[in-house]
């Protein structure tokens, strides 16, 4: 197996002259680019991701680095501004000649494809994409949204019959809600039992919407809210729910962008019982998890800092990349990419994460309820791991597409394999 990778690696090295010049530059260290906003609106979730990358690099260097070289972090600040993300991505690859980039925001996709870079993307997203140059370590809709809805439909989750899909008005909620709507309809939920609502970014006046939800829920069927509302705006929403006397037992809200980091700044007393679906919770009782959190607190020097799902995604992504580099014997992008497929890293919550040929991970899905200490208590989890789907099975136009970057497919969005002999 290993020698097979090496042959491919050698071919890759010969082919990739661009990466060659990069190697010559970084002879003594291996450069790891970190592309996370440290200022602007997205700093709230991304600063911690930068910190966890520095932590991972530090851990790896303590173990002697990679291929006998030390790792060097190159941190840039795209300031929550999407054109700047592309600019900074270009700077990382062209000027700093980094060997890999860990970062957010897929608007950088064209830059990575043009310059043949490698990006690890740790945040949950709407799917419907697979690029040769990106490894998606965050959850696809079938690893987060669909299991959450299935849980709420189950007897244990309260046999929910009526659904409010509330989201912020941009592409992730719109696509996720489209997938959820057709999923619910496939499960026999009539159209009048689905209410879809969009709000602008940073919406803070939730009175009317909460009151609408209340009257929608008074139809005598168990109602739940599936929230794709963007991180921050969830808090005033929860506060309004609590103030209007709606408890999680009556109308549970399941959110996909509220994690430990977002809860760190708020009084979670009124939120107890509302749900989140993630692939990781800090509260999970597993030895690997406890061990890592201990090291993380020692590194950051603050034992109040939380660890959350996108941070675990970076942990998995980084370790996979490190293993792939060791196996390929080089940091050459094409060689490492080949070595990535089938890479296995233990999840912090138990089980093994696997990188699939569609560049998405197989990960377990956990449903947790918010507790009054700002942590989640796991109330449900999948039996094994769930394979991330690049293209949703519940949208007719994407159900027929396949993403597979190995022979004979070698394609991110094809109906037929690219290379087929018959």
């Amino acid at each position: 197996m290993k020698s097979g990778f090496k042959t491919i690696a050698a071919a890759g090295v010969l082919a990739g002259s661009l990466a060659f010049s990069g190697m010559a530059q970084a002879a003594d260290t291996i450069k790891v680019g970190i592309l996370h906003s440290l200022s602007g609106t997205m700093a709230i979730s991304e600063t911690a991701l930068k910190d966890v990358m520095l932590f991972m690099i530090d851990e790896q260097n303590k173990k002697g680095g990679l291929l006998g070289k030390q790792l060097e972090a190159v941190v840039v600040d795209p300031a929550s501004d999407w054109p700047l993300f592309a600019e900074k991505a270009r700077e990382l690859i062209e000027q700093h000649k980094v060997d890999v980039v860990f970062g957010n925001w897929t608007s950088v996709l064209p830059v990575f494809e043009e310059l043949n870079g490698m990006l690890f993307y740790p945040v949950q997203y709407e799917g419907e994409e697979s690029s040769r140059n990106i490894f998606y370590t965050g959850a696809a809709p079938n690893q987060q949204a669909i299991p959450a809805v299935e849980y709420l439909m189950s007897e244990e989750g309260g046999s929910v019959k009526r659904w409010v899909l509330a989201g912020t008005d941009y592409v992730y909620p719109r696509t996720t809600n489209k997938i959820l709507e057709s999923f619910l309809k496939a499960k026999g939920v009539p159209a009048e039992d689905i209410m879809i609502n969009y709000t602008p970014f940073g919406h803070s006046d939730w009175q009317t919407i909460v009151s609408d939800i209340k009257s929608f829920a008074s139809a005598g069927k168990k109602t739940a809210v599936v929230s794709t509302v963007n991180g921050d705006a969830n808090v005033p929403f929860y506060k309004e729910l609590g103030n209007q006397g709606i408890k999680a037992e009556d109308i549970p809200v399941v959110a996909f962008s509220v994690g430990e980091e977002e809860l760190a700044g708020i009084d979670t007393g009124p939120l107890v019982g509302h749900l989140a679906a993630w692939n990781y919770f800090m509260s999970v009782d597993a030895p690997e998890n406890e061990d890592l959190i201990k090291k993380w607190h020692a590194f950051i020097g603050d034992d109040k800092r939380v660890f959350n799902d996108p941070m675990e995604a970076h942990y998995i992504g980084f370790n996979m990349w490190a293993q792939a580099v060791e196996q390929a014997g080089t940091t050459n992008i094409d060689a490492v990419r080949q070595a990535m497929y089938g890479q296995e890293v233990p999840n912090l919550t138990g089980g093994i994460a696997v990188m699939n040929t569609n560049h998405h991970l197989s990960k377990p899905v956990l449903i947790g309820e918010i507790q009054d200490d700002g942590q989640f208590a796991t109330v449900w989890e999948t039996d094994g791991v769930v394979v991330g789907d690049a293209w949703s099975d519940f949208l007719p136009e994407s159900a027929k597409l396949t993403a597979d970057w190995t022979y004979p497919w070698v394609c991110g969005n094809c109906e037929k394999p690219k290379y087929v002999t018959n």
């Binding site: 940073g202 803070s204 009175q207 008074s218 921050d232 037992e249």
Partner: protein, 560 residues
């Protein structure tokens, strides 16, 4: 009991006491046996909670409820509050109260303290929403006979919210012994909702006529379901006459609910208006009176909110717990001072060089706003900061028809009006207010009368900034306290001031409430996003017609 006690002479009391003691001595062995059995049953039921499957936990909860033991109530309450744990060493169920890193354990059966444990020694018994709903019903059934009317009312509501098979009989028994009129009415309604589906038509008829006067959307949908057809084509409600009565009742409730809906939109509009007013009132000074296009206005609000956070932390660290709720009052002057100080700094350090150059002012204050945001982010971190809602401004007041007004919003409406009134009085009656008006109306004349215009400018800007800081105290209660707080309000603030009329406090008030109410009447029809767009279009059209806003300043002042 307490009435009879008064008539018993002291000597007799001793006799009665000794008789009771004697009785106790005779019964005690039997009672001890009974108590032992109770303990064993309680222990067994509690052990049933310490399992993985929620189905088994549910069974254990129901079993605990049937015991009718006061200790079971304590244990169930602990479970809903997340204080019930399983001890890993011997799998016993304990109540654990967290004290920093250590948990203090209590035995739910004996009530005895079991020492301390670390977080690794115990495992939380997790409840989910469904289980909490069931516990709510069980606790409600147990509390139906409580002597406290408040508890009883809550219990009735809980039983109605999560009814089980036995609920109807239970509610009827409770009704028969209930003396409080309000609770009795609630019980009657609850019984009627359960009897809507009874086999006996007289019961059904009584239930419908009872529910017809309600104005609760849930009752409406219950009634509506009686009008549907079963899967075999027959009506859920077989009796034609009764079905017509149900239809009438539904129509009546609908009419009443429509009125409540209007009232609700109006209340929400006033509430949104008060938030807009608070956000805009500082700007009405800096932009409206001084003419400075102050893009850093939102950051003054943010500084006020962060000051609230700091004051809260100081209270938490130094004050006794009872005084904690009043940190909000202490924050008001603190926020004013902090924001005003920054205002002076900005005015003296930057804006005063740019008077009369609106474009440069706009860009410079925009830069200042970014600097302030990043400053706060560097000091406090990028995360939201927790600003707690004190108890006295939490909760909601229900006004019927499914409409409720949250208490914190009522406070914000009142607070906004008080701030505006104080500001208006200050400008109208104080010496500084007079100087301020003089400078803004005719700078040259004011200067030649001996007013130091530079100083007045700085103080006016400080006043506007300080008021924005005070607004931050109120907004910290309903919004996230994050470095981006101010950005959420800056556009709305300018909209209010421009719409209301630059330079007019009255305009700002009318503008804020007008926009709030229009927005809230549009939102149910058009959705939040389209609502915002429509409001913007309305304002643009309005400004075309009246470029100086609702309350335009007239005369020479307006020309300058």
């Amino acid at each position: 009991m307490s009435v009879t006690k008064k008539h018993v002479a002291p000597r007799c009391r001793v006799v009665i006491f000794s008789i009771l003691l004697a009785l106790l001595a005779i019964i005690a062995p039997g009672e001890a046996l009974q108590a032992q059995q109770n303990d064993a049953a309680l222990q067994q039921a509690l052990a049933g909670l310490n399992v993985r499957s929620f189905k088994d936990k549910t069974a254990a909860v129901v079993a605990l409820g049937e015991l009718g033991d006061a200790r079971a109530v304590v244990a169930l309450e602990a479970l809903t509050e997340g204080r019930l744990y399983g001890r890993k060493s011997d799998q016993t169920v304990v109540i654990a109260d967290r004290d920093d890193r250590i948990y203090k354990l209590t035995d739910p059966v004996s009530g005895a303290a079991l020492g301390e444990a670390g977080s690794r020694d115990i495992k939380k018994i997790v409840a989910n929403n469904k289980l909490r709903g069931i516990i709510r019903g069980v606790l409600g059934q147990l509390a139906l006979s409580s002597s406290d009317p408040g508890l009883r009312l809550a219990a009735v509501e809980n039983v109605i919210a999560s009814p089980t098979d036995g609920s109807l009989a239970l509610l009827k028994r409770a009704r028969d012994r209930e003396t409080d009129v309000g609770i009795r009415a609630k019980l009657e309604t609850g019984i009627a909702t359960l009897e809507l589906g009874a086999d006996d038509i007289t019961l059904r008829r009584a239930a419908v006529s009872r529910l017809a006067d309600g104005n609760d959307p849930e009752i409406k949908s219950l009634l509506e379901r009686r009008l549907l057809k079963n899967s075999d084509g027959s009506f859920v409600e077989p009796d034609d006459a009764l079905r017509a009565a149900v239809q009438d009742a539904v129509d009546d409730i609908n009419d009443r609910l429509a009125l409540f809906g209007l009232a609700e939109d109006l209340i929400f509009g006033i509430s949104l208006g008060s938030v807009l007013l608070l956000a805009a009132i500082g700007l009405a000074i800096t932009f409206g009176v001084m003419g400075v296009i102050n893009m850093a206005h939102g950051e003054m609000i943010m500084l006020g909110a962060y000051t609230t956070f700091v004051v809260q932390e100081i209270f938490r660290a130094t004050m006794p717990a009872e005084a904690f709720g009043f940190y909000l009052l202490a924050s008001i002057p603190a926020a004013f001072v902090v924001a005003a100080a920054f205002g002076i700094l900005i005015e003296r350090g930057c804006i005063r060089f740019l008077y009369g150059r609106p474009l440069e002012t706009l860009l410079a204050t925009w830069g200042v706003s970014l600097i302030l945001q990043q400053m706060v982010r560097s000091i406090f971190g990028a995360n939201n900061r927790e600003v707690a809602n004190p108890d006295w401004i939490s909760g909601a007041i229900s006004i019927g028809g499914g409409v409720s007004v949250t208490v914190n919003r009522v406070y914000i409406v009142v607070f906004a009006l008080v701030v505006v009134a104080a500001l208006a009085a200050f400008i109208r009656y104080s010496r500084f207010g007079l100087q301020m008006r003089a400078v803004t109306q005719n700078r040259g004349m004011a200067s030649s009368m001996g007013i130091r215009t530079g100083q007045v400018d700085a103080l006016t800007f400080a006043l506007g900034s300080g008021i924005a800081g005070v607004a931050g105290v109120a907004l910290s209660q309903i919004s996230n306290v994050s470095p981006n707080l101010g950005q959420n309000f800056i556009v709305d603030s300018f909209m209010v001031v421009v719409f209301g009329g630059v330079g007019s406090l009255w305009g700002t008030i009318v503008g804020a409430f007008g926009l709030g109410i229009v927005n809230k009447f549009l939102e149910p029809v058009s959705g939040a996003i389209l609502g915002k767009v429509v409001v913007l279009v309305i304002i643009i059209l309005f400004i075309q017609k009246r470029p100086r806003g609702l309350f335009a300043l007239k005369g020479r002042a307006a020309e300058g």
